[in-house]
């Protein structure tokens, strides 16, 4: 456990090193980035080995930071944090493997990438709201530059839209949290202290504060109708940034809802629960249908991310033990699978064929030109639509069953979403990779496509391994998640603020 904060420090140090080394040698920057990411990932696994599940956060570091306000540098972890830390390490490593060919300004690219990763680790480890917010924003700002400098389609627009949405969301969060601090008469920003103080806030005020905080975080999780930044941002972003965005950054929003918004205001959450639940269902179905008619390969994946993140929000909104555990599992699962999908679309296909239009891809016999990519995409697609044996299955099943226990209508709506997800996933698999089978002679590219590199294969196998492992052994993660959800703060959430 004491190793976990080093994930943050190692990432930031690696960012600086990569920046310095990158001005001389691209290879040095790449290797520094890879070593840093692997080191971070290794630290999470080492910590996981000695982790003993318990209800509640286990303190790691707790020292004063700003004495006058009672702000502390307080890092702590429970099973939920640990799940997401492991995910972050995997996504970071895979992301770097899939950006092995970055040639333009490599030092800056990997520095921003690692800074973002450091921020993400920090958010998942923070037990003080001030620290959490600081890391949260450190994770937001690099996205602008990653997309605006190394992105593709309409990148400056996509970057600005994404960052302004995220930042506006974080402004709502900050407004709500400071309001809670003042209104509750808190003497510190620790999660426990704020939770205690939030009990002093009048109910009507707490309804408004909860709405600010939850909405602020949920924007980053892609809640309908504030999800529109996600597809444009994902499409504009370079491959590794899309992988991180969908893989871990959207999880920051969901994690913020789960860790901060719900425990602080369980009663207000009970009041808003129907709204959140229906928005989640609407997001699942709406984004699914939109994905069905996209003509750009990457937009399909972008909207599918929004749809799958809807399941996370649904699980949180249903607030039964099973649904919430499923939501955390879905965060992990979607982080891995979305990373894989974006890797295939952005790196393996787009950077070789230079097109993402499904109409163009249909004319290419991609399953013959890029067999590895086709296999990976089929595997990822099946995992994404929740086939047993992959991580998406236990996750979405838990959410559906858990939701059914109290809100059968929501579960029915979400089940429709699963059908739509099946439709758009199978459609895009068929059109993009197997489009020309039996059709007119393939309009093959003039020159053979460059083969899939070793780095790409390693990255793909890493992520496939993760989704299959969790699909076969969901207990490995649930043994961490379920005890964490038994802590009093989450129990209060599940009881709607009536302990």
């Amino acid at each position: 456990m004491n190793l976990l904060p080093w994930t943050i420090y190692v990432s930031f140090a690696g960012a600086l090193l990569a920046l310095v080394a990158g001005s001389r040698s691209a290879a040095a920057a790449r290797w520094i980035a890879l070593v840093t990411a692997v080191a971070g990932s290794a630290l999470t696994f080492l910590a996981a080995r000695e982790f003993v599940s318990s209800a509640g956060l286990q303190d790691i570091v707790n020292v004063p930071w700003i004495a006058g306000l009672g702000v502390r540098y307080h890092l702590a972890a429970d099973g939920i944090s640990l799940t997401l830390l492991v995910l972050t390490g995997l996504a970071a490593t895979a992301g770097i493997l899939f950006s092995w060919n970055i040639g333009e300004r490599p030092g800056e690219f990997f520095a921003l990438f690692l800074a973002l990763i450091g921020g993400v680790y920090g958010v998942f480890l923070s037990a003080d709201v001030f620290a959490l917010f600081v890391f949260y924003e450190i994770a937001i700002v690099p996205k602008y530059f990653l997309i605006a400098i190394w992105g593709s389609t309409n990148r400056e627009y996509g970057a600005m839209k994404l960052v302004l949405y995220s930042f506006a969301g974080s402004a709502l969060v900050l407004a709500g949290l400071l309001w809670a601090y003042a209104a509750g008469g808190a003497h510190g920003f620790g999660l426990a202290e704020l939770t205690a103080a939030a009990g002093n806030i009048p109910h009507t005020t707490s309804l408004a504060i909860f709405a600010l905080v939850f909405l602020g975080f949920a924007v980053l999780a892609g809640i309908f109708p504030f999800h529109t930044w996600a597809p444009t941002g994902h499409v504009a972003a370079p491959t590794a940034a899309s992988m991180l965005l969908a893989g871990v950054v959207m999880k920051l929003g969901a994690y913020g809802c789960l860790r901060v918004a719900l425990p602080l205001f369980p009663a207000a959450f009970a009041y808003w629960q129907p709204v959140i639940g229906w928005l989640a269902v609407a997001g699942i179905i709406y984004a699914g249908f939109i994905a069905l008619v996209q003509e750009d390969f990457k937009f399909v994946i972008g909207y599918s991310s929004v749809s799958h993140m809807g399941f996370v929000l649904l699980g949180l909104a249903a607030a039964t033990p099973l649904a919430m555990a499923g939501a955390v599992l879905q965060m992990f699962s979607h982080g891995v699978i979305a990373g894989l999908l974006f890797a295939v679309v952005g790196r393996m296909v787009y950077e070789r064929t230079h097109t993402r239009r499904l109409a163009d891809l249909r004319a290419m016999p991609l399953h013959r030109l890029l067999p590895f990519a086709a296999v990976v995409f089929v595997v990822a697609g099946l995992a994404s639509l929740g086939l047993p044996g992959f991580s998406g299955f236990p996750a979405e099943l838990s959410i559906l069953i858990g939701t059914w226990q109290t809100k059968p209508l929501w579960a029915a709506g979400a089940a429709l979403g699963i059908v739509v997800a099946g439709a758009f996933t199978l459609r895009v698999i068929q059109v993009s990779f197997f489009g020309s089978t039996g059709a007119a002679p393939a309009a093959a590219p003039d020159h053979p496509l460059p083969p899939i590199t070793l780095a790409e294969k390693a990255g793909a196998l890493l992520l496939i391994g993760a989704t299959v492992f969790v699909g076969l052994r969901p207990d490995a993660l649930l043994d961490w998640i379920v005890p964490a959800l038994q802590s009093p703060v989450f129990q209060a959430v599940m009881k709607g603020g009536h302990p």
Binding site: I66, A67, G68, Y144, I149, L164, F167, A171, L174
Partner: protein, 481 residues
């Protein structure tokens, strides 16, 4: 009772150093060797740095806290901290000047900076209306000269004239307000005024006096609707002068006014729930500044005007700090103003260096800065992100502490704080427009920009301070109990 002149000597140590330094600069430069302006600039700047450092080390080192010289000076925490702050900011501006200025009469330039700084340090500790006014005028007159120092550019003259006219009128308002206060209370000393006001209660004349004082205050802080001078002055003045105007001058002005408003006129503060007084007016000015500054900045294509509107928006947040200072002391306000000053000095410092290699007015003039000078780009990134309030930089902590204090003050101040937080999302857009040019856009001219050593030192110091104060805010906040 004999006049305690030794107290005067103790209280005025920094000003003595600065004045002596300014005179020494002028004296050394008397045998003008017209052929070697760079050498003259360097000698003058070295003397100026010496004067500023002596003022900081020797001048601030001694002297027990409390009122001195019959209550004319107040060497309290706020006063001494502000003195240290303006000396530091002036030092940075001097570094930028020494590195970049190609103006004629370098010695006079440095001397004016030192005189202005003497005005700032006096403003920081003045506890008596007459001294406050004199200090303000010493600073303002020096700044008018600095704004118009570049005689080769008509814009500089325009800036100086506008600044002077607005400043002159606002000084008249201030003096009028002060004279009414004197008429009401029979005293020009703040402690006595506050006692008298508390006994006499509100009166129509007091309202007039307060209005006059607030007009001057709004001008000094560049708050809406008294902000009109700021964009033109920031645009036209030589960049190092603009740096001083935007940073040290603001810090000193806020210290003076927070001392005037709370210990002096605290009895007439009114409150935000309807009772007449200056607080509702300050709250209105704050809201107007935040709204106007942030939205007008969105439309700017000129980086200096953009910084001016951003300054107006920040003035709104600073005024929130003034309101909150009643309950939570001047700590949050001082932290915000000092770190804002650091970032602004830095931003104008970068502009000054870029200007050596061509103009730096439009946003596009910054295009491709990263290829032309990585050092400047890194520094600009820190300054602009700090202005935008991105953690872990000092600008974020400044906002955090001021808004927390305002929310704890409650009532409309709390609503204003929420408004300010939401507007920071608007602000991020225009700050990113600056960074987009510097980091994303390709360079229009590939020539690298050499960064002179004094300017590089000043910029790096400012950036390092912003990072350090952001990560360890208690270094500064801890000073204030």
């Amino acid at each position: 009772m004999s006049t305690p002149y030794h107290e005067l000597l103790v209280a005025l140590r920094p000003e003595l150093c600065l004045t002596a330094g300014a005179l020494a600069v002028l004296a050394v430069d008397l045998p003008k060797s017209a052929r070697r302006p760079q050498l003259r600039l360097q000698i003058s700047a070295a003397l100026g740095v010496l004067a500023l450092i002596t003022a900081g080390v020797w001048g601030l080192g001694a002297g027990q806290p409390g009122s001195l010289f019959g209550g004319v000076f107040s060497l309290d925490l706020l006063g001494q901290a502000t003195r240290a702050g303006v000396l530091g900011l002036a030092l940075l501006a001097l570094g930028v000047t020494a590195g970049t200025s190609r103006l004629r009469h370098p010695a006079e330039l440095i001397a004016m900076i030192l005189f202005a700084t003497a005005g700032f340090t006096l403003m920081a500790v003045a506890q008596q209306l007459l001294l406050a006014f004199l200090a303000l005028e010493l600073a303002s007159l020096s700044l008018y000269v600095l704004a118009g120092f570049d005689k080769t550019r008509p814009e500089s003259a325009e800036a100086a004239l506008k600044y002077f006219l607005f400043g002159g009128v606002s000084a008249a308002f201030l003096l009028f307000g002060f004279s009414l206060l004197y008429g009401l209370t029979g005293s020009i000393e703040l402690p006595e005024i506050s006692v008298q006001l508390a006994m006499s209660g509100p009166s129509p004349l007091l309202v007039v006096a307060l209005a006059m004082v607030l007009v001057a205050f709004g001008f000094k802080a560049a708050a809406a609707p008294f902000h009109l001078w700021a964009p033109d002055v920031y645009e036209g003045a030589p960049a190092p002068s603009a740096a001083l105007i935007a940073s040290a001058s603001k810090l000193a002005g806020l210290a003076l006014f927070v001392r005037l408003l709370w210990p002096g006129l605290g009895a007439a503060s009114g409150n935000l729930t309807g009772a007449a007084g200056w607080m509702p007016v300050v709250a209105l000015i704050s809201a107007a500044s935040m709204l106007l500054g942030n939205f007008a900045a969105l439309a700017q294509g000129n980086v200096r005007r953009l910084l001016a509107y951003s300054a107006i928006a920040h003035a709104g947040a600073l005024l929130l700090g003034v309101i909150a200072a009643g309950r939570f002391g001047p700590g949050p306000l001082f932290y915000y103003a000092a770190t804002y000053g650091l970032a602004t000095v830095g931003a104008f410092g970068v502009i000054a260096v870029v200007e050596r290699a061509g103009s730096c007015q439009g946003l596009a003039d910054l295009a491709g800065l990263r290829a032309r000078s990585p050092l400047l780009t890194a520094c600009l990134l820190v300054f602009v992100l700090s202005l935008a309030g991105i953690p872990p930089l000092a600008g974020f902590v400044g906002k955090f502490v001021v808004f927390t204090a305002a929310l704890q003050t409650g009532g409309p101040a709390g609503w204003l704080a929420l408004l300010a937080i939401l507007l920071s999302a608007v602000a991020l857009y225009y700050y990113l427009m600056i960074l987009k040019q510097a980091l994303v856009a390709p360079a229009k001219e590939p020539a690298t920009i050499p960064v002179p050593a004094p300017a590089a030192l000043a910029l790096l110091a400012a950036a390092a301070l912003i990072v350090a104060l952001g990560i360890w805010p208690s270094l500064l906040l801890g000073l204030f109990p």
